[in-house]
């Protein structure tokens, strides 16, 4: 991949993201500027964009479609919700709703330590790495790929959803967790805190974009693209594609968990519906609509689709599924490479797709 300085579209999007971050940061200090509502919406969009980046990394650059990325998003979300609840309980003394429903007076033992954010973050990393590592290892080792991999990940997230719907697991059951009051000792609903979290999300988005871009132009990134285009050849040349795929898969899972950790404090609730297979599929749809195999495509797709969704779910909720399916069909017919086609961006197309006009997926 070419050097970052010659990649003008990427720099333009990155600059736009940084500009949004800057305007958010200045709004914290001054009483005018962006409203808390708008900042919150921007922050959620940024979290979704990070999530889309995580999927684009594995799907767009390694050719492995995961329909279960909601699982890692959910792990991050659940862990940060546990931190927020425990922390709020320690500050305000209010017993969380789900414990009242279950008639519990004390937190289950595995909630110990969740009052500390650093511990919670470490748990999120550990759990994400454990699940993605074990699942990735057994799948890639037996060379499960393509559609097989996609539907097994979908079953994985489905099972996780069923598990979380149970009320006796100590993670809120079907009502989920809500009623967060305090974050890092600050009241979570105040304008300054809301805008701060949004600003952090946007900054994280910019850093993730930059990090992924640098990774992709490194030697490792070249290997990823090589594995996507012809894994068998790469393996024949003596590279260990199992390790490569596993590393990218785990990294992608970690980024998704990070997105979940940004998302949940901003919406103020988490419940098992976040783990519904539909949401995980939707992530793939954002990436496909924006342009898979382009980092900016993932960001643009996630922001655009979710902005329309925010707007429509207030204006005409019945219409949204039709528009979403229409968008997908539009992408299928008119912009096979996503909306980045629209701008005529010509990025790093692999040789094989230049020959065949449509990007091929050899490891189906």
């Amino acid at each position: 991949m070419s050097s970052i300085w010659s990649d003008r579209p990427f720099l333009a999007v990155l600059a736009a993201v940084l500009a949004v971050a800057l305007s958010l940061v200045t709004s914290i200090a001054v009483p005018f500027g962006l409203s808390a509502y708008l900042a919150n919406a921007i922050g959620q969009l940024a979290a979704f964009a990070v999530l889309a980046l995580s999927l684009d990394l594995i799907w767009g650059y390694l050719g492995i479609l995961s329909l279960g990325h909601g699982l890692f998003f959910g792990i991050g979300g659940y862990v940060v919700a546990m931190y927020l609840l425990k922390h709020s309980f320690e500050v305000t003394g209010k017993v969380p709703d789900f414990m009242q429903f279950m008639g519990w007076t004390a937190f289950p033992f595995y909630w110990a330590g969740f009052g500390y954010f650093v511990y919670a973050a470490l748990v999120a990393v550990a759990v994400t790495l454990l699940i993605s590592g074990v699942f990735g290892y057994v799948s890639f080792r037996s060379r499960v790929g393509g559609v097989y991999f996609a539907i097994i990940t979908q079953a994985l997230v489905y099972v996780a959803m069923l598990l979380m719907f149970r009320n006796d697991t100590g993670f809120g059951g079907n009502n989920g967790m809500t009623g967060f009051a305090v974050i890092f000792g600050w009241p979570i609903g105040s304008r300054g805190v809301v805008i701060s979290i949004a600003a952090i999300s946007v900054v994280v988005l910019a850093l993730t974009m930059l990090g992924c871009r640098l990774l992709l132009q490194s030697r490792f990134g070249m290997l990823m693209i090589a594995a996507r285009d012809d894994e068998v050849r790469l393996r024949t040349l003596g590279y260990d594609t199992l390790l490569l795929k596993l590393a990218v898969w785990c990294l992608s899972a970690l980024i998704a968990a990070l997105a979940g950790m940004l998302y949940v404090p901003q919406v103020g609730i988490i419940n098992p519906r976040l783990l519904a297979p539909d949401l995980s599929l939707e992530i793939a749809v954002w990436v496909a609509i924006g342009g898979r195999g382009h980092l900016i495509g993932a960001v643009i797709g996630a922001v655009l689709v979710n902005a329309i969704k925010f707007w429509l779910s207030a204006a005409a909720p019945e219409l949204w599924p039709f528009i979403l399916s229409g968008l997908i069909v539009l992408v299928v017919f008119v912009f096979p490479n996503g909306l980045v086609d629209l701008a005529g961006f010509r990025l790093h197309r692999p040789l094989i797709s230049r020959l065949s006009s449509e990007p091929a997926e050899l490891n189906r």
């Binding site: 399916s325 069909v329 449509e358």
Partner: protein
């Protein structure tokens, strides 16, 4: 001479009998009009009549207890008179007459009132023409069954014409016999109860271990122990059979949903995420056929499940063909994008149906051929609605197998599945085969929806509940083989229902998923992979 003597004797016997009847009846009326003790005897006598009396006697006595309780019977010097809406009649002869002056209505004591209630119920059970009244009477008698003469229930069970009520009567009779004071009868009753082992029988026999006789009488204890062991064994077998049966019906639905998926996947490498929605559409088309029959030919309404078969198959197959022709065709080289495209179709179909029909469950007529079932053993009932799904799946399997093995289309589908390029080279119209196969797969999913209609709720979301399980069947079974799909559907269906009662539905899904991931370590291409070059 001898003949005339016999005739005289006969006349005498008949006269004696009828006078005896008359005397009994008069005696009864006298007791009804007597003091509290006499009235109690009258109550018992009427219960005996209900148990052993002739139909005449029962019909005669049936009116009395209710009249006494309602104070409609008044006693005077010559007997008693029963007042009713049609005028008053003599209690003994039932000839019309009115009560003499100074008549009084006998008042029941609390104890006698209960006795008369029982007598009324006993007589109603034996002689009322109305099944609802007989059922109500049985409920009244049930509470004190062990204090009643057992001939009452025997005779009532023998004469009963309503099969449901007949079973209830024999159940009450068994319960009564179990608590009979006569030990031989108790032991015999235990044996009879154990001959139909189910949870109800266990509930009857189980408490007998706390009976004083259980400690005192060894024969009794042995009979109780043997009976409860036999019943438990029966229940276990019944539960196992029921689990297998439920698993089989679940597996047949899975099979019908998955066989289409497997054919399409093998052929085009496309997983159709809208497969669940074709199941849903099948259910809705079945409903539309039912409603159309209701309007056009109400006489055929019962047969809508059969009449809908061609309609469901053709319509869902046509929708599938249209879908393939306008959408999936363009995604042939991008199977992962086709996942998203079929998901868009699924989203569109769910919401289209939701907007058109609403989200509520559809109401289906239950035809007589899928109603009820045959009780086999324990609590296992061989229900016809599940049998319908199983039989339907078997027929579908047979036809699909025939289609794949014996027709030119099947030959082409198998050829394209094995080697698309080579099949194209030798002149098979590959695109046409794709289209027809997609139509076939969609039509089979639609038929799964039809088979589900009598056993499952049909609503816009219903497809979602099957789709992930049927994907697992395809992953496990391998592509393009009917045998693999059958084995995988049976396996997943059975494992689901086997684990569910032990650890719950969630654990069943988790274990099935883990088993599939583990299995793929061993055979990444599925159970019955087609031998060939690895792609």
């Amino acid at each position: 001479m001898i003949r005339s003597l016999a005739l005289v004797l006969w006349v005498l016997v008949v006269a004696w009998c009828s006078t005896a009847h008359a005397m009994e009846r008069a005696d009864l009326i006298g007791k009804v009009c007597g003091d509290a003790a006499a009235m109690g005897e009258a109550g018992r006598a009427m219960i005996d009549i209900a148990a052993e009396g002739s139909p005449d006697d029962r019909a005669w006595a049936a009116l009395i207890p209710r009249s006494v309780m309602d104070r409609k019977l008044s006693c005077d010097a010559t007997g008693a008179v029963i007042a009713s809406a049609d005028g008053s009649v003599d209690a003994l002869t039932r000839a019309a007459r009115s009560a003499a002056d100074g008549s009084r209505s006998p008042l029941l004591s609390l104890k006698n009132r209960a006795m008369f209630e029982t007598a009324d119920a006993a007589l109603a059970l034996r002689s009322s023409p109305d099944p609802a009244r007989r059922a109500a009477a049985l409920r009244t008698l049930e509470r004190q069954a062990s204090n009643l003469p057992e001939q009452l229930f025997e005779a009532a069970g023998r004469d009963e014409s309503n099969p449901g009520l007949k079973a209830q009567i024999s159940a009450v009779a068994q319960g009564a016999a179990l608590n009979s004071p006569d030990m031989d009868k108790r032991i015999a009753a235990i044996g009879r109860v154990a001959s139909s082992p189910d949870r109800r029988a266990l509930a009857l026999v189980g408490p007998l271990t706390n009976d004083p006789a259980y400690g005192a009488n060894t024969d009794f204890r042995r009979a109780v122990d043997a009976a409860s062991a036999a019943i438990r064994r029966g229940i276990t077998i019944g539960d196992m059979l029921a689990t297998l049966y439920n698993g089989l019906s679940f597996a047949s639905i899975l099979f019908m949903a998955a066989i289409g998926l497997a054919v399409i996947f093998g052929l085009m490498g496309v997983i159709n995420l809208a497969q669940g929605e074709f199941i849903m559409l099948g259910g809705y088309i079945t409903w539309l056929v039912q409603e159309a029959l209701r309007l056009i030919a109400p006489g055929l309404l019962q047969w809508y499940l059969i009449i809908a078969i061609p309609a469901v198959f053709l319509v869902t197959a046509a929708i599938g063909i249209v879908l393939e022709a306008i959408l999936l065709r363009h995604l042939y080289r991008r199977p992962l994008m086709s996942l998203l495209a079929t998901w868009a179709v699924s989203l569109f179909l769910i919401n289209l149906v939701r907007v058109t029909f609403g989200t509520q469950n559809l109401q289906f007529v239950t035809p007589f051929y899928v109603t009820g079932g045959v009780p086999v053993i324990g609590d296992f009932i061989f229900t016809w609605n599940r049998m319908f799904a199983i039989a339907f799946a078997v027929v579908t399997l047979g036809l699909t197998w025939g289609l794949m093995r014996l027709t030119p289309l099947g030959l082409n589908i198998r050829a394209v599945t094995q080697n698309r390029t080579m099949a194209g080279c030798i002149g098979i119209a590959v695109r046409r085969v794709d289209m027809l196969a997609f139509g076939l797969g969609s039509g089979l999913a639609g038929l799964a929806g039809l088979a589900l209609a009598p056993i499952y709720s049909v609503n816009p979301q219903m497809g979602q509940n099957f789709v992930i399980d049927s994907f697992m069947v395809v992953v496990l079974g391998g592509v393009g083989t009917i045998a693999g799909t059958i084995v995988a559907a049976l396996g997943i269906g059975q494992i689901n229902v086997l684990i569910e009662p032990l650890w719950g539905a969630v654990a069943a899904k988790v274990i099935v998923l883990l088993m599939i991931i583990g299995f793929l370590q061993w055979r990444p291409e599925g159970l019955f992979a087609i031998k060939g070059r690895r792609k």
